[in-house]
């Protein structure tokens, strides 16, 4: 962007929340970075949202407190919001706009990049094929995570999404390779405790030296949240596609991000669409989620695990809804399972991993993987219907097969979905466990697995098929 740059305007026309209007500007570009000088040492950043010949509408990122019409000056910087990225940022803790929170100065060297990035050309993408083994049965077995995938966790308030994300970050490994691994963590509007939890978790496991944390707390200005994920992903893109690292990006909580966006657009007086969110929420989220994947000519990858809390546990709310349309599946946490004391309370039925089908099976995991996963889905879906029926007619009235399904349902929840917070099961272990549980059901009712597979793996004689069988 070529511009005069550095021009200072001393008079603001209006300031309303995070929106500032300056009149009589010249040579200012759309999207240009702005410095707002509120006093001796108070400088904030913003960007141009709407520019006409006479007037610039500016969105302030770092809180609008203290802006006055007379005392505040605005400086147009002639470039967009940029971030100086380097490997030195690993091990650092930064705030939501990329400034250090850990006392040390920012690295001097590095490559300067616009935080908005550009769209990856679809022909350059490489299709994700390497399974990430998280050690969590219900993910590995039924919703396998793949390197380069974006797989969000749909949670609710009070559910253990943070523990699950931390467990994935701790346990995740690629079957058969180590590779250089990095974690980029972006927190948007999170509680102090949550930020502390992740920081301690990364420190405790020694992962912090290969991680960068961007932390925007609930008490920080909401405007900052709009750029936090973009800072994080700019770094992730550099690490993955320039430094060839495998980057896991955890973003929490996308709901706070969307709330901040709604706040901002309503301050701008835009026409709202569903539930007051802007009509371009989908495009805006896509700009974030699509910065993910693998590309040809680089051995690195970006895998995203965005976490969002569904308002009122409602999966049809615009935030989870639009997210689900962009991401490659979702992991859905379930309050009822949580109340039963099952950890991780992941409900497999609404959960999905869209790209597992090409990544699993054969030598990559095990040839029966896809069929077993399908059979678990089918049988567990049947359990739901039978439980509903049992609630009305009583379990005694059920047919023998239905009774076995009830038994399977309970054992499945407890022993397949349920596992310890530090328990790591390999994929073959998870699949063996699945077969043991499926063996509670009559072999004739298993239509999704082949006869050969039944002959090989089905067994009447295991810990779950015997009466009272449980761990």
């Amino acid at each position: 962007m070529v511009t005069g740059g550095g021009k200072i305007y001393k008079e603001l026309q209006s300031a309303s929340g995070p929106i500032v209007v300056v009149d009589r500007v010249t040579d200012v570009a759309y999207g240009e970075l702005v410095e707002i000088i509120c006093g001796e040492n108070i400088r904030r950043r913003g960007s141009v949202l709407d520019i006409s010949e006479k007037r610039a509408v500016i969105q302030v990122f770092e809180g609008a407190q203290g802006i006055s019409l007379r005392e505040t000056a605005v400086k147009f910087l002639g470039r967009t919001l940029e971030f100086n990225v380097s490997k030195e940022l690993l091990g650092r803790i930064l705030n939501g706009v990329g400034l250090p929170l850990d006392g040390a100065p920012l690295p001097f060297k590095g490559e300067t990049r616009s935080i908005y990035g550009s769209a990856i050309n679809p022909v350059v993408r490489d299709y994700p094929m390497d399974v990430i083994e998280t050690g969590i049965s219900v993910i590995d077995g039924m919703n396998t995570l793949v390197r380069g995938q974006k797989l969000p966790v749909f949670s609710g308030n009070g559910l253990p999404h943070n523990e699950i994300a931390a467990q994935i970050a701790r346990q995740a490994r690629i079957r058969g390779s180590a590779g250089n691994f990095a974690v980029v963590f972006a927190a948007m509007g999170v509680k102090n405790d949550d930020a502390a939890f992740f920081r301690e978790e990364l420190e405790r496991t020694g992962a912090l030296e290969n991680a960068t944390m961007f932390i925007n707390l609930a008490s920080d200005p909401p405007e900052e949240r709009l750029v936090t994920p973009r800072y994080a992903l700019t770094l992730a893109e550099y690490l993955a596609f320039t430094q060839n690292m495998h980057v896991l990006v955890i973003m929490t909580d996308m709901t706070n991000y969307c709330e901040a966006l709604r706040e901002m657009t309503s301050a701008r007086g835009e026409v709202p669409s569903r539930k007051g969110y802007p009509g371009y929420l989908y495009s805006d989220l896509a700009e974030i989620y699509e910065r993910c994947g693998r590309i040809r000519g680089s051995s690195g990858s970006i895998t995203q695990i965005p976490i969002l809390t569904m308002p009122n546990d409602d999966i049809t709310h615009p935030i989870p809804d639009l997210t689900g349309y962009i991401t490659e599946g979702q992991i859905v946490l379930d309050r009822e399972l949580h109340q039963k004391g099952i950890y991780p309370p992941i409900n497999p039925l609404p959960s999905l991993s869209r790209i597992m089908k090409d990544a699993i099976g054969g030598d990559r995991t095990r040839p029966d993987h896809a069929h077993v996963a399908n059979q678990l889905y089918s049988s567990y879906a049947a359990v739901g219907n039978i439980r509903a029926l049992a609630a009305i007619v009583g379990a005694e009235e059920l047919t023998d097969v239905d009774q076995k399904h009830l038994k399977f349902g309970d054992a499945f929840e407890e022993n397949f979905i349920g596992q310890g917070k530090d328990e790591r099961r390999t994929i073959p272990e998870s699949l063996d466990r699945a077969w043991q549980l499926l063996s509670i059901l009559p072999a004739e009712s298993l239509h999704r697995v082949s006869k050969e597979e039944i002959n090989r793996y089905y067994s009447h004689d295991n810990q779950f098929t015997q009466d009272g069988g449980s761990d």
Partner: protein, 583 residues
């Protein structure tokens, strides 16, 4: 210099320019110093509103605007097939050569390779009279498709010259026609405005089915050649997999696949998978008949709006050559959202859910570009072509009462409603038999092509599914044991139809494509079982005992165990089913 148009305001993808009095609506413009492509969408006094098809960050008021004296158009000619374009027909592989991994803006690359030489073979002679759309010559475009060079719409007269067989570039003149307005030169390549439908000269009734190899579609809810179908469904209900299945297997000549505001990795999957997959009819890679338009969700929203029109215009062009074309548009909701976003930027009065009031008419215009046409050449030979549109709809929360679904319903005649519960149980395709319908009458085609009566089997299968739906409500209250045996058999056979017939795995080698003969043979066996089981239960044999018969498990597995070309095995298997009731 003073009267040159220039930018006066920039608001995201929408910009405003003044001194535009001479421009017309729909004109293509070049915006700013980087010559970004845009289109005029409103004119007021001297000021034009322009939607820009690329990112506008860094553009300033005062930058120049150049109005091109033509509407936004696509280039039509050989080389479209096997290509992958963005929403405004820029070839993505060429963009990669220019800008690497990330798409930079302001890149202008022609959609068709202007330097490549093609083998042209004339099929007409000098002196011959030609009418609009008459075929002048042929170019082998891919292994599967012969490109036909046609006379443009407005020209008719006699040929004063036609090129000899040989190598030609797309910009070469290959014929001259003397028309009433004088002699005109005809090149191989030409332009067509994306928002103007290519006219259909004679419309034929859509009564021939598109055979997709998907049982729930071909057998229960067919779409006809030249028809329009919608697949609405919430996320994770299998819209994209269904679209991919259709693109892979349906028996048309050309596929235009529009990834409109969808995932980048999905387009990558198509790019990796299609060249490796063989068409069951020709045994050639299906990429040889496919063109892809990929405007992923993070690419500019305005180009997403245009992508649908780019795709349908290309489809109409191949239809005019005499090909059957199917368009997969995934997803029309993203296109509707692009309309909403642009209309919001224009501060237009919103109607339902923030969508502009013209949403319904835009949806209608799009689906009305489907059709089956017949073109008669000057010498009386006829050729038939069709455009079939299959649009995915992504309703928020899977709610079919939202504006895009409700308006789409008005313009399509096949509706494949995807169901979340089926998807949760991994019953795919999750097209639900109760919410879906097809208004196309394709029975005549089946009569001609099969010895079994499709109409009869279809009616009987639907009756069982309807009856099952009614019985399920009772079962929910009192359990299946309370039903009389006759009805329990209906329940079990309905389950057989659902799990053993309608459910079809896209990832199974045997079952991914199911031939029409196999479809009818399978349902015939299930209905035969139903009839025999009904008779047997009338003699007092309990339903539970009938369902224990060893053939039951075999019926559930026949889709996997008997292949498309093993029709004799079905005849044999039907006998076994019949015999098992005799004992």
């Amino acid at each position: 210099m003073k009267h040159e148009p220039k930018l006066i305001r920039i608001n995201g993808p929408v910009v405003f320019a003044d001194r535009m009095g001479n421009a017309s609506l729909g004109n293509q413009v070049e915006v700013g110093r980087e010559h970004l492509t845009g289109e005029i969408i409103t004119l007021e006094n001297d000021i034009a509103t322009i939607q820009v098809y690329e990112d506008t960050i860094g553009i300033k008021p005062g930058e120049p605007v150049r109005v091109l004296d033509e509407p936004v158009s696509v280039l039509l000619g050989p080389g479209i097939l096997k290509s992958i374009y963005d929403g405004i027909q820029r070839p993505l592989d060429k963009l990669k050569d220019k800008s690497g991994t990330f798409i930079k803006r302001g890149l202008n690359v022609p959609a068709i390779d202007l330097d490549r030489e093609w083998d042209f073979r004339p099929v007409v002679k000098t002196g011959q009279t030609v009418t609009p759309l008459a075929i002048l010559g042929e170019i082998p475009e891919t292994e599967l498709v012969v490109h036909k060079v046609m006379v443009p719409h407005k020209y008719s007269g006699h040929l004063s010259w036609i090129a000899a067989p040989g190598k030609h570039k797309v910009t070469d003149v290959i014929a001259r026609v003397v028309t009433e307005a004088g002699e005109k030169e005809i090149t191989i390549m030409r332009k067509w405005p994306i928002r103007r439908p290519r006219p259909i000269i004679k419309r034929l009734l859509p009564n021939v089915p598109v055979i997709t190899g998907q049982r729930v579609i071909d057998f229960l809810f067919p779409v006809a050649r030249g028809g329009a179908a919608a697949i609405p469904g919430g996320f994770g209900t299998g819209k994209t997999v269904t679209q991919h299945q259709l693109a892979k297997w349906c028996d048309v000549d050309i596929i235009v696949y529009i990834g409109c505001g969808e995932r980048g990795n999905e387009m990558t999957q198509v790019l990796e998978e299609f060249p490796a997959l063989k068409d069951p009819h020709s045994q050639k890679p299906i990429m040889e008949r496919t063109t892809l338009i990929a405007n992923t969700s993070n690419m500019p929203v305005t180009a997403r709006e245009a992508s649908i029109y780019t795709g349908v215009t290309i489809a109409e062009y191949y239809r005019d050559m005499g090909y059957h074309v199917a368009i997969m548009a995934d997803s029309t909701s993203r296109w509707a959202e692009a309309l909403r976003e642009i209309s919001g930027r224009l501060e237009q009065m919103p109607a339902e859910e923030g969508y502009p009031a013209y949403l319904a008419s835009r949806i209608g215009e799009f689906y009305e570009r489907a059709g089956r046409s017949e073109i008669t050449d000057h010498d009386g030979t006829k050729r038939e072509g069709s455009v079939t549109i299959i649009g995915a709809v992504s309703p928020p929360g899977g709610d079919f009462s939202e504006p895009v679904v409700t308006h789409t319903r008005r313009f399509v005649r096949t509706f494949w409603g995807l169901d979340r519960d089926l998807a949760s149980a991994r019953h795919f395709p999750s097209i639900h038999w109760n919410s879906s319908y097809s208004e196309y009458d394709v029975s005549r085609w089946w009569e001609k092509n099969s010895s079994l009566s499709w109409s009869d089997l279809h009616r009987k299968a639907m009756e069982i599914l309807k009856e099952d739906d009614r019985l399920q409500n009772i079962v929910k209250l009192i359990g299946p044991d309370a039903l009389p045996d006759r009805q329990r058999i209906t329940l079990e056979v309905a389950r057989m139809i659902k799990e053993g017939f309608l459910q079809q795995s896209a990832f199974s080698e045997v079952d991914s494509y199911c031939s029409p003969e196999k479809q009818l043979a399978m349902i015939d066996i299930i209905l035969c079982f139903y009839e025999k089981a009904g008779k047997l239960s009338a003699t007092g044999v309990p339903a539970s005992e009938i369902m224990q018969l060893p053939v039951v498990d075999k019926i559930f597995r026949m889709k996997e165990e008997i292949g498309n070309d093993e029709q004799a095995k079905f005849t044999e298997f039907k006998k076994i089913v019949e015999e098992s009731f005799m004992e």
